[in-house]
Amino acid sequence: MRLLAWGFDLLLAAGLLWLAWQALFTPRRFSAVVNFMAFYLLMALVWVRLDAPDIALAEAAIGAGVTGALLLTALGRLPAGTSTGADPRRWQRPLQILAMAGAAMAALWLAWAAYQLPRPGLAAEVTAALDATGVSHGVTAVLLNLRAFDTFLEIVIMLAAVVLVWSLGPPLRAFAPATALPGLPALSHLLHPLFLLVPAYLLWRGTHAPGGAFPAGAVMGAGGVLLLLTDAAPWIYLRRHRLLLHLLLSSGMALFLAVALGGMLMTGTFFAIPLHLAPTLIMAVEVATGLSIALMLMAFYLLGEPGQ
């Protein structure tokens, strides 16, 4: 059994290295992107191997799903083959080689340091504080109660990225498929119930087991990107829905902030949630952040502000 596990780890590592090499150094862009998506799928397996099912769920939906869709869209919009980067001047060459050598040395040093890393960890502290958080799953407790401020800032970063993308101009409509695909709309219709059911289940599960707002939002966002791809969400481009979209996008952040301020009024500490309200409030914040994350992932895909 041990031998089997080692063999699996070795295969996984070899696959990851090969796919990363392909993604970074193949001359063709398309194969680089496809290899990169496969890299994320193997990464999800690695998370399962390392006992991190929460991350595996989020990575599979966000990494392989949403990032892959974004990269393929960019690929379709960029001219094939030509480089869009700045061409390096001659005096930059030595600097480039120096940077590469430095990176190689840093990797060696990092490998050495990682090999003999001490592992202090906060596992005992989190387990001790778990009873005071109102949820029974460690990751959710840290995410939405113990270190809720970090999660709040992360939602703000995501909203800032949406503002940046939307400030670039009107949305770019998805190209119609080059060949007729009669199965695509039917498939997306069939998949919609699943794209709602799975996030609902993940949200409910989040309080006591791996799951929660991040994987749920990621799965729902992937479903939303499919909606945009099949042109099944024309309402999002309408001008009269602009205010509604803005409200929905910021709902996760707004509710989070309201909870934090309410906690300050009740207990005197920013982001302190009273224990008797914690399960309900955490569930509410989880639903709102999940929906916000899903909508923000869709918003990235529009590549511009709708309704202009």
């Binding site: 990851l16 390392l50 991190a52 490998a111 090999y115 592992r119 960890g121 596992a123 005992a124 270190r147």
Partner: protein, 94 residues
């Protein structure tokens, strides 16, 4: 086993950095940054496996990190696409 994955993360880090410096293609640079982010996440998750059980704090950092990474990727890709369209329009004009 943790150490095995930590070394893998270090190698991926080095590869991503070298890829980031040697390429001139903007899309490839975004890919390299994503690989680098994955390698750092891998290192964090291996650190989370301590003797006294699994530490949820690095897991949470990685979860938020994944979402921040996809936001960064989306913003960078949008900028690349817009820059490319502006360049194309400039070249079409006489």
């Amino acid at each position: 086993m943790s150490q095995f994955y930590a070394v893998l993360a270090a190698i991926l880090c080095g590869m991503a950095l070298i890829g980031l410096f040697q390429t001139e293609d903007l899309l490839r640079r975004i890919l390299a940054l994503n690989v680098l982010a994955s390698a750092v996440f891998l290192l964090l998750v291996t650190v989370a496996r301590s003797a006294e059980g699994i530490d949820p704090v690095p897991h949470v950092m990685v979860l938020t990190g994944i979402v921040v990474a996809v936001s960064t990727t989306a913003a960078a890709l949008a900028l690349v696409i817009r820059a490319n369209e502006a360049r194309r329009r400039r070249e079409e004009e006489p």
